[in-house]
Symmetry: C2
Subunit: 223 residues, 2 copies
Amino acid sequence: MSGKAKPCVVLLSGGLDSSVAGAVARAKGRELNALSFRYGQRHSRELGMARSQARALGCASHRVLSLPLGSIAAGSLLLGQGARAGAGRGVPATYVSFRNGIFLSLAFAWAETLGADEVWGGWCRTDHQGYPDCRLPFFRAFEKAARLGTAAGSRGARLKVVAPLAGLSKAETVALGLSLGVDLAKTHTCYAGSSRPCGKCDACRLRAQGFRLAGKQDPLTAR
Amino acid sequence: MSGKAKPCVVLLSGGLDSSVAGAVARAKGRELNALSFRYGQRHSRELGMARSQARALGCASHRVLSLPLGSIAAGSLLLGQGARAGAGRGVPATYVSFRNGIFLSLAFAWAETLGADEVWGGWCRTDHQGYPDCRLPFFRAFEKAARLGTAAGSRGARLKVVAPLAGLSKAETVALGLSLGVDLAKTHTCYAGSSRPCGKCDACRLRAQGFRLAGKQDPLTAR
């Protein structure tokens, strides 16, 4: 391949979806720069998986940023807190206030530093249904804010949020990941954080259903 | 006064402008919740001033968040780095990539937790001229993203960025601050970080000009 690969930032959590999104970006010939966050999740197993995936994807760089979200975005199950702020009435108890707004703002800051126009992430159809900050109208609005609010954007860079899984079911994501050679044993999905999925949380149930409908065996639950 | 004051988040840097913006919010009867950031600025004198102002303004709460911006938004004079990313061609060397996008995303996350609709800040006419993320079109676009991307917004909360100094010169800001009783001796402006303004950096020059045109003595330079 000749010419320089176009750089992008990939939000890489270490979960199944973001790993597959990263593999799509790589398949499209992008130079990958992975961005992960330590934000008070109840467990750090995901971050180890993010590191594995960043290596496997051949990322040009990988940053893990610590964010003190617990002190401002209280009340999510994901932050190890029982109560909620914002959740309810169709919004899952794992909602963390404006999390993707925060992640995208940091990603576009880094993108500008790298000279990248695109931020990729693994937002999927199921996320879209529950989380307001995983929906395409939000991404379009955020792109506009980023174009207006960065030096690069104000000079004409077409900053973009790329969500290659937005239209896919979990089964389609599993199949796509396998077709792209993603090592799904090196992804973490369970909210509980043990190496073997608990099988009970929403994330585990969605993942199990995805593998089942794709007609594949999840390597994490293989005996 | 009867009834509960409407809560808001105020971005409080410890500089002159944000202190005056906070005083305007207080004068409008808001409950103030101050948010400050430690993000690798070359000095921390500003944060001490932010604490003083938060006390003086009677803020209901004050959070100081540490953000590792140096690892992603390299190249600003403000981060103590010589080179630049994004600056040049009309953008000051003190530009930190998408800084206000990052600050606003965290502020709206906290606002949702607090049940607040407004984020106030001290962006002024001079900022507006240089920094893309201090301009009203950016704020309008960001509000839209926040309304779409938060649970509160998606239920109809009219989230707003409030920039009471947007149309004011520095002299008008100085006069407004004095009329509202802001202790301008407890603000910090100089990029260099010493207690007495260096008098040479852009921030010092703008401040000195503001006091001069307002016909007032800057308490920081009084003998």
